[in-house]
Structure formats: structure tokens, C-alpha cells
């Protein structure tokens, strides 16, 4: 990939960084609110939707991904909300359905076959990303910043304890569904970068890594996108050097950062010391 011109590599790098940052911010909500299974289900629903968009030429993959992810949020959100369905059940029911649908749609795509453009929905392929798509990702970043500036107080209260937030006058249910809807948007817009199989990693890993290091949620909202950005750049370089798919490379880099944090984070050390002291 080193031979590629910068007119292709630059949008790739920018797109990867922006997608990673957006997903990481959403990831802080997903991880802290224990909605990982819901995020997992939504990301795979987005994949199935995008696959349908590829299979049916008149449909736009991004809009179909958004539609499917939103439907998943609208259907699963109330179930998770009322704790009527445990997380294993959500994954168990939705993962096979969305993956099967996605693969069936891809099979029917005009360009189906290994290495085809359609399969980039599975593995991610940002080499074809245009500057216009980079601007779309940037506008999502801007939208997230505006949303946090406008309703960040309510979101923080929600992240501390939902019942406590509601009890002090925060419309917690509205904030909860806003998180789900915005997650659906971010997943759908970022799907092309890492692919349907790995976008979940981009949401959960940087946020989980950040929460290993900080005791202040506000800092987690700064550190998670920073780690997402570092993972994206490292993955981009790894992809160039080893000629690997970029989505997989970014996910690998995010995994390595997470495992390193697990090994050396002050929170983990503190827990280990506390356990040793007890013994």
C-alpha cells in the first residue's frame, strides 16, 4: 500500500481517525451503561442493512444501515430498558439473525465473491473513501460535540445512575433513547471503515481502555477518542507496512492498547494490592 498516492491515503487516514473518535465517544456510553450487547446487536443490524443496500442497487447502503440499526435500537431498546431481556438473550437472538441476513444479502449482491467490493462491508475497506465521506464523518463528530454541549449534564447524570438521575428531574428515558439513536447513526456512518464485524471493537475497546485509567468520567470522554485516534493511526501504519485490511489492523491496534492497559493500569494495580492485603 506504500505505493498508493496521498490523495487516497489521506482521506483513508482522516476517515479512520474520525470514525474511531466518533465510535469511542459512543463507546463510553455503551460500556458505562452496560449496553455492550445492544451495541453489538446494533452494529450487526447495520451490517445487514448495508448488505441489503449493496444487494439491491437502488438502495443506498449507508441509509439502509441507518434504518436497520435504528430499527434494532427501537426494538431492543425498550426490552433492555425495562430489563425484560438479559444481554445474552439479545446477542443470542439478534446476532445469528443479522449475520445470516447480511450474508444472504451479500450473496445476492451483483458483485458477490471473495475480494469483491460487497465483502468490504464485512472487513472494511477505506481505500475507496472520498473526501466527501470524510466530511460526513467530520459532521458527525461536530454533531456529537454539539449534543454533548447541549445535553451533556443529563448524559453525565444518566451515566452515574439512571434512577438517581430520573429522581432529581433529569428526563432519563429521553436521554437513554438519544444515546441509542446517536449510536445507530455513528455505527451506520462508520461501518465502511472497519466493516460490520469489527466496528463493535472500535466502540468498546477505546472506551474500556480509557476507563482503566481514569476515575473521572469527563476525562474518559477526552481519553477514549484520543485512544481511538491512536489506535486508528497505529492500525493505518500496520495496514500499510504489513499490507493488511485496514479495519482488522485498527481493531488489532485497539486490542493491543486495551491489553496493555489491563496489564499496567493503576486501577488494576490497586485492585491487586487490595486483594493481596486481604490475603
Amino acid at each position: 500500500m506504500f505505493g498508493l498516492p496521498w490523495t487516497i491515503l489521506l482521506p483513508t487516514l482522516l476517515g479512520s481517525v474520525l470514525a474511531a473518535m466518533n465510535c469511542s465517544v459512543i463507546g463510553v456510553f455503551i460500556v458505562r451503561m452496560n449496553l455492550s450487547s445492544l451495541g453489538f446487536a446494533m452494529s450487526h443490524a447495520a451490517f445487514a442493512g448495508a448488505a441489503l443496500g449493496v444487494a439491491v442497487a437502488v438502495l443506498d447502503p449507508v441509509w439502509m444501515a441507518l434504518l436497520f440499526a435504528t430499527l434494532a435500537a427501537a426494538f431492543l431498546g425498550p426490552l433492555a430498558d425495562a430489563s425484560r431481556l438479559n444481554t445474552d438473550s439479545i446477542i443470542g437472538a439478534v446476532f445469528p439473525l443479522t449475520m445470516a441476513l447480511g450474508l444472504v444479502f451479500l450473496n445476492k449482491a451483483p458483485s458477490a465473491g471473495i475480494g469483491s467490493g460487497a465483502l468490504s462491508l464485512l472487513w472494511g475497506s477505506v481505500l475507496g473513501i472520498t473526501m466527501q465521506q470524510v466530511w460526513t464523518l467530520a459532521s458527525v463528530t461536530l454533531g456529537l460535540l454539539v449534543l454533548l454541549a447541549a445535553f451533556g449534564k443529563g448524559f453525565l447524570a444518566l451515566l452515574l445512575d439512571r434512577k438517581l438521575a430520573l429522581a432529581t428531574g433529569i428526563p432519563a428515558r429521553g436521554h437513554f433513547y438519544a444515546v441509542l439513536f446517536v449510536s445507530a447513526i455513528v455505527v451506520s456512518i462508520s461501518l465502511r471503515i472497519t466493516g460490520g464485524l469489527l466496528i463493535y471493537a472500535l466502540m468498546v475497546l477505546p472506551a474500556s481502555t480509557a476507563l482503566q485509567w481514569v476515575y473521572d468520567i469527563k476525562k474518559a470522554f477526552l481519553l477514549a477518542p484520543a485512544l481511538g485516534m491512536i489506535g486508528a493511526v497505529l492500525g493505518f501504519v500496520l495496514s500499510l507496512v504489513a499490507d493488511l485490511p485496514i479495519g482488522s489492523s485498527i481493531a488489532l491496534a485497539a486490542c493491543i492498547l486495551f491489553l496493555l492497559s489491563l496489564a499496567v493500569s493503576p486501577k488494576r494495580r490497586r485492585r491487586a494490592f487490595a486483594k493481596a492485603a486481604e490475603e
Binding site: L160, K163, G169, A220, K267, R270
Partner: protein, 244 residues
């Protein structure tokens, strides 16, 4: 004078529950009154507080706070309702500092795009000072003991200048010293804020002694006879309400 809290023929049930938890609850509490809510496990004490706060919608009847229906104006009214849920404990990994947790009690007062001002932060600091937890301000809340965390939750009620306190088992599972400290703090807060206060408690002690009134709940109903109240009062003084 309009009562601070009024429940008229209130029936409530949790989702999927056939029998219901509260049945025909009728009572009014005046401003500044300290009401102790006692009764055996499963009698509906926690449900009663959730109904007053509007966290659990009623199936029948009306709940009004300061003359306004909770079903209409819950979000606005809750800004002045201090609530301490039963058994809320923040684990060690909770990524929130004590100062922020106390400040967050005022968040609902601020509109869209409006973040806390210096005055809000000063109010939160004052609340922590009142509760004697200023030294923990920059500590993660999950690193505090159970008793200290309860003080943080009480500091939130001071920070939001609550006019109605709903405290669910505020002294449960605490050692005797912490129990006394929390009870004293609640009485001080109630006096300084002039807040109508509902305390659900299993523990005999200062809070129940200081109560202006004791409501005895049995099977989701307010115990009708003096005999029931007398027997419960006896059990409270023996510290065995949970065994009733």
C-alpha cells in the same frame, strides 16, 4: 394550607404484578413534617416512596406534591425532591468524583447548553461542608465506605435545596457509629431546609423517635387500627420490624 404531599386512594403495581403493591393509600403530610414509614418486608414501603416521587406511576388515585399532580409535572417537581434509594452503592470502579456527584443534583435546574455556574459549585461545596465530606471532594465516589457514600447522597439533597426528602433505609447495613451520624445528619438537614421528610427505616433509633408521625404499612395498606400501630411500634422499639 396545602399539604406538601397528598395521596388520594392510590393503587400501584409493578409491571407484570397481578396483585398490586399499594392498595387505596390515603394520607397527607404537611410542610416540614417528619414521617416514618415502617412495616414488614414486602409491605410496600419502598413502593410508597417511588409513587410519591413519580418513579412508579399509579394505577388509580392521585399523588400531588405541593398541590401539583406528579403525573403532570414530575420532572419539574423532582428538582426539589431529594431521593435516597435503598441499597445504592457505587462500586470501586465508578468513574465519578464526589464533588461532581454532589453538583449533579443541581443539573436538572439548568437548561440546554447551560452548564453549572460558580454559584452552583459554591452551593455544592457548601453542601459537602455541611455533611463533613469536603475532604473527599476530589476522591472517586467508589472509594468511599458505605456510610460515606450515604453522606454524599445526603449532600446532594442539600445541594439541590430539597423541600421534600424521600429516604429509603438510609441507615441500613451501617455500623452503629455511622448509623448515628447519618440519623443526626438527616435531622439537621430536615431542620435547616424545613423539608417534609419521609424515612423508611427498619432500625429503631433517633429517626423513628423524632418522627412527627409513623405510618405503618401492612400488605400495601396503611394499618387501620391502633392495635396494629401499637404492635409495630413495640417491634420497632425492639429493633425487629423486619421480622414482622
Amino acid at each position: 394550607m396545602e399539604p406538601a404531599v397528598r395521596l388520594a386512594d392510590v393503587h400501584a403495581a409493578y409491571e407484570g404484578e397481578r396483585r398490586g403493591t399499594l392498595h387505596g393509600i390515603d394520607f397527607a403530610a404537611s410542610r416540614g413534617e417528619l414521617v416514618a414509614v415502617v412495616g414488614p418486608n414486602g409491605a410496600g414501603k419502598t413502593t410508597l416512596l417511588e409513587v410519591i416521587n413519580g418513579l412508579l406511576p399509579v394505577n388509580r388515585g392521585v399523588v400531588s406534591v405541593w398541590g401539583q399532580s406528579m403525573s403532570v409535572a414530575a420532572h419539574r417537581l423532582r428538582r426539589r425532591i431529594g431521593y435516597m434509594p435503598q441499597d445504592l452503592f457505587f462500586p470501586a470502579s465508578t468513574p465519578f468524583l464526589v464533588a461532581d456527584v454532589v453538583l449533579m443534583a443541581q443539573f436538572a435546574e439548568r437548561g440546554v447548553f447551560r452548564w453549572p455556574t460558580r454559584a452552583d459549585r459554591a452551593r455544592a461545596r457548601e453542601a459537602m461542608l455541611t455533611m463533613g465530606i469536603s475532604e473527599f471532594a476530589r476522591r472517586p465516589i467508589g472509594r468511599l465506605s458505605g456510610g460515606q457514600q450515604r453522606k454524599v447522597l445526603l449532600a446532594r439533597t442539600v445541594s439541590q435545596r430539597a423541600a421534600l426528602l424521600l429516604l429509603d433505609e438510609p441507615t441500613a447495613n451501617l455500623d452503629p457509629t455511622s448509623r448515628k451520624e447519618i440519623s443526626d445528619s438527616i435531622l439537621e438537614i430536615r431542620d435547616s431546609l424545613g423539608a417534609t421528610t419521609f424515612v423508611v427505616s427498619h432500625d429503631a433509633g433517633r429517626l423513628l423517635d423524632a418522627a412527627d408521625r409513623t405510618i405503618v404499612l401492612v400488605d400495601g395498606r396503611i394499618a387501620p387500627s391502633n392495635q396494629d400501630q401499637a404492635s409495630v411500634a413495640f417491634s420497632v422499639s425492639a429493633g425487629s420490624i423486619g421480622d414482622l
